[in-house]
Subunit: 146 residues, 2 copies
Amino acid sequence: MVTSVVIHLKQISTRFSIAVHTLSLIAVYPKDCTGDFIAGSVNTNPVVIRRIMGMLKKAGLVDVRPGVGGASLLKDPERITLLDVYRAVNVTEEDRLFRIHGNPNIHCFVGRNIEQALQKELKEAQSVMEQRLAQTTLDQLIGKFK
Amino acid sequence: MVTSVVIHLKQISTRFSIAVHTLSLIAVYPKDCTGDFIAGSVNTNPVVIRRIMGMLKKAGLVDVRPGVGGASLLKDPERITLLDVYRAVNVTEEDRLFRIHGNPNIHCFVGRNIEQALQKELKEAQSVMEQRLAQTTLDQLIGKFK
DNA sequence: ACCGATGTAACCATTATAGTTACACCTAAT
DNA sequence: ATTAGGTGTAACTATAATGGTTACATCGGT
């Protein structure tokens, strides 16, 4: 009997793309960016934006004016990379993209060796991905808008 | 008031590392690899292994002998890459590692452009990561075991 | 026919996500 | 000083993926 249940991997959260959208908005419309304005462009709830703004603030990317509202960039768009944004909103355990199963059987030749050997490869794969993100700045991204 | 709630990104499933572990076992111990044996080395429930074996089978990487049990590789360890394994077990929507928020406001200059511009960058980042995985074979990985 | 193995359904606890309401607080403008 | 609009954050929700588990049908060599 064949039934097929498609398993979907949990992908990298939309927090990342929403954060990039948010920073692009602030760069393009430096005067108007309240949470509600951003939420209107992203098309989501303002609280979702405020949460992400909190992360961007903590990462030193934006400044949010308390009370009156509105946000501004703390770095030039030429100096903000996609990696900066990715790191700001993707708080992973020890910054690891890949999980590795714990407690393999150390009495087994493979179980005893797999973790360290695989860890090294996966870190490299993660690293090249992040370095590619680091090559694109907010400025370059906005430059592609039509 | 400052409270800090750490948000952990859902990382790439341990299915991947368990699959690599499983294939390594079959390569090293071609005679003994029943689901229970593998589960004993991975240190998990046999059903978890059987599920992953099903994915590896569907990907054409292994053959499982029905009835009597035991698994064997369908390709040489020198010709199985980490990318093959990754693709076999990580069934993501359209193979996309990154999610992008849907339905941005197309009446906004940024909302109208962000998806396409960002998509291109993220695909490239995913691609370099996958190409790095493709550079490591099962054989090379096992060669690092001590 | 038996025995050990596989295939898979079904269920569960845990956790991340993303949306939502609610409300305290802050600042400028009146 | 009061008000209006915006921010910060807690709390709750529905949805979904994960990984473990039990149960059971089926397969195939001995």
